[in-house]
């Protein structure tokens, strides 16, 4: 066994298969995210039932595999008395399929808005903290230290439950908790960028300090925060679902994946798996898709 064997192939040999793998995985991640985004746009319109009104059929199991072709044919020719419940119905009679495809509008909006807000605030504060290092920005970093040492889930729960369980409050709570991450990432990048030659050149051209910071340093310091954002969007979806699961998130009957899992949780002991399993698959795939995307971006950035 030679040294080269144990150390693995050289860099040159690893980059080729690695590239292929990344693209294959990247494709899956991109597809998942694209589907979720499309559903967020049109989900509630293409849903066969209103996601927030009940049907008279309670806890109806999803059709078995053998029934699906007949139901498909029936729904195309319009010979059925009501559209089929592809994923069954839950204990209140909601059509699970309609709710699963309507939920991205809520889940994705919360995740995107919370991340957008914290990205905006975090990047600007991070730029200030990295560019101007004085007592005020030192204090800002201590405050964000304290914010970052809060237990994330419990703090989110406190903020949402005490401020009132609404979509806007969830967005604000998540934004507050995610901002320190973006401050820290941007500050570190700004500190490494501001000593480079092009910044010196921009100053020498007679640009005022603020212009140098905003027009030259800022655009070059965005990458770490943007990469982080693609990962955090996935985690924001998980957190939103978790909040609903313990009863500190959106209110029923809002179509939201975590809430749907939670309402189905009591039935799973009785063997009625479908009210929880389908929305769970949706979260599982969605967050995985964002994780893959974030990871691919991170590697691309690191690889130059």
């Amino acid at each position: 066994m030679s040294a080269a064997d144990l150390m693995g192939p050289t860099d040159e040999a690893t980059t080729l298969p690695r590239r292929k793998k990344r693209d294959w995985l990247f494709g899956i991640g991109l597809t998942i995210v694209a589907v979720v985004v499309i559903l967020a746009a049109i989900g509630p319109w293409i849903a066969p039932y209103d996601p927030t009104s009940v049907t008279p059929r309670i806890v109806e199991p999803p059709p078995s595999l053998g029934e699906i072709p007949g139901l498909l044919w029936g729904s195309i020719t319009g010979t059925l008395e009501h559209p089929p419940h592809w994923m069954g119905t839950d204990a209140s009679g909601f059509d699970i399929f309609s709710r699963v495809i309507s939920a991205p509008r809520i889940d994705l909006s919360i995740a995107l808005a919370a991340n957008g807000l914290s990205l905006l605030v975090g990047v600007l504060l991070g730029l200030l903290a990295g560019y101007y290092r004085n007592v005020a920005t030192g204090l800002l970093m201590r405050v964000s230290d304290v914010l970052q040492s809060f237990p994330v889930f419990i703090s989110a729960m406190i903020l949402v439950a005490l401020a009132g369980r609404s979509t806007v409050n969830i967005i604000i709570a998540l934004a507050l908790l995610y901002t320190p991450i973006y401050i820290r990432l941007t500050r570190a990048e700004v500190m490494s960028q501001k000593v480079r030659g092009y910044v010196e050149a921009a100053r020498a051209m007679g640009n005022p300090e603020l212009t140098v910071a905003l027009r030259h340093v800022l655009p070059n310091s965005l990458a770490p925060a943007l990469i982080q954002a693609s990962v955090t969007i996935g985690f924001a979806i998980l957190l939103t679902a978790g909040l609903s699961f313990v009863g500190a998130g959106v209110r029923p009957p809002t179509p939201e994946w975590g809430l749907m899992i939670s309402t189905g949780a009591n039935q799973i002991i009785l063997g009625e798996w479908w009210p929880s399993v389908f929305p769970g698959i949706a979260i599982s795939l969605t967050v995985f898709g964002f994780a893959v995307l974030g990871n691919a971006l991170e590697r691309r950035y690191d690889g130059g």
Binding site: M1, S2, A3, L6, M7, G8, P9, A13, T14, T15, P17, R18, K21, L25, R142, D145, V146, S149, F150, P151, V152, F153, I154, S155, M157, I158, L159, A161, L162, A163, G164, G234, F235, L238, A241, G242, F245, V246, G247, A248, G258, I261, G264, A265, I268, I269, L270, G271, W273, S276, V277, G280, I283, S284, V287, F288, F290, A291, V292, N295
Partner: protein
């Protein structure tokens, strides 16, 4: 030198905790919740409302309340300085006692999960690291990315459906012991340990049986980030100069792998510590699925019933433990890695 370092860190940590206590104190009072009406119920008379407010001490100026909570007004009763976290508004018992009862349940759950996740993750991560870019590495990488981005409460429910309802090999998700079993006398608060201390092996086995699914859920979720990190650190260690030197010196392969593993462990332990602190509050969803009365379940109850002293207590205790873990990590790091200086 070391003593001075620890002292400085402790002082900073305590200052941070004081800042946190005050921040949480004002934050929850700024939010538009009305704990008084939550306690007295719907449509109380004005007198009942005023009396409840007086009982909770909410009629006094907010600064007086803060001084009382911090223990700087000893004539009003004990506060933080005297080691008291206040009295629960809902149950009327001291918060310190309640947290002391719930915290061990969470510690038992996550310690067991971390041990198993770590023991499983190290060989899997090493497998991936031995041939970066190979088939095994690819599988390990996708697995860790997947496991690290999953809703743990949903997987807990899936496990319940599979192992309790379908296969019948797990108990129902209704707590840490069957309701018919009397719990062992409370010594540590961790049921498995208490059962052993009380000399009741059957209760010990039953407690493990009830922990089976929650631990499996957490192991699955935790294995993602831990495998990823072991793999990364192992790849880095195998590429370092000392491994090359060991090869040149003609050392056997297993011995080199051992050296590399040791070098890869130091940064891995840091991440595990951070994850552990995170899981103290992060196990709440798994506790909720399996009705384990840990600190997470306690905080859900406290938050949903607007029990301010309990909320403050939970945040303070969890953050305090996390800060202590970070300090311990830095010390351990210095012991393992001789290059680290204070």
């Amino acid at each position: 030198m070391l003593v001075r370092y620890i002292a400085t860190r402790l002082v900073i940590g305590i200052a941070q905790l004081i800042g946190l206590v005050i921040a949480v104190f004002f934050l929850i009072r700024l939010l538009p919740a009305d704990p008084v009406s939550r306690l007295v119920g719907l449509n109380p008379s004005a007198e009942a409302y005023a009396q409840a407010e007086r009982q909770l001490g909410l009629d006094r100026p907010i600064l007086t309340q803060l001084l009382h909570y911090l223990g700087l007004a000893p004539e009003e009763g004990p506060g933080l300085l005297q080691g008291s976290l206040g009295i629960s508004w809902v149950t009327g018992s001291p918060i310190v006692e309640e947290i002391g009862r719930h915290l061990p349940v969470t510690i038992e759950l996550i310690t067991l999960s971390f041990l198993i996740a770590f023991v499983l993750a190290v060989p899997i991560g090493m497998l991936g690291a031995l041939k970066p870019g190979g088939k095994a590495d690819r599988g390990v990488f996708i697995y860790s990315l997947f496991a690290g981005s999953q809703p743990e409460f949903w997987w807990g429910l899936l496990f319940v459906y599979l192992f309790f309802f379908t296969l019948g090999v797990a108990p129902p998700p209704l707590g840490s012991l069957s309701p018919l079993t009397s719990p062992p006398p409370e010594i540590t608060g961790m049921i498995t340990v208490d059962a052993l201390l009380a000399g009741r092996p059957d209760t010990f086995v039953e407690a493990l049986h009830h922990l089976m699914l929650p631990v499996a859920t957490l192991v699955f979720i935790l294995s993602g980030p831990i495998i990823k990190m072991v793999r990364q650190n192992m790849v880095r260690a195998l590429r370092s100069d000392f491994v090359l030197y060991a090869h040149c010196a003609g050392l056997p392969r297993w011995q080199i792998a051992r050296y590399a593993l040791r070098a890869a462990m130091a940064p891995s332990i840091t991440l595990i510590g951070i994850l552990y602190g995170f899981m103290l509050g992060g196990a709440v969803l798994v506790e909720s699925v399996f009705s384990l009365s840990g600190i997470g379940q306690y905080s859900v109850r406290a938050v949903l019933s607007f029990d301010y002293p309990a909320i403050q207590g939970v945040v303070l205790i969890i953050t305090g433990i996390s800060l202590l873990i970070y300090l311990a990590l830095d010390l351990i790091h210095a012991v393992i890695d001789p290059r680290v200086a204070y």
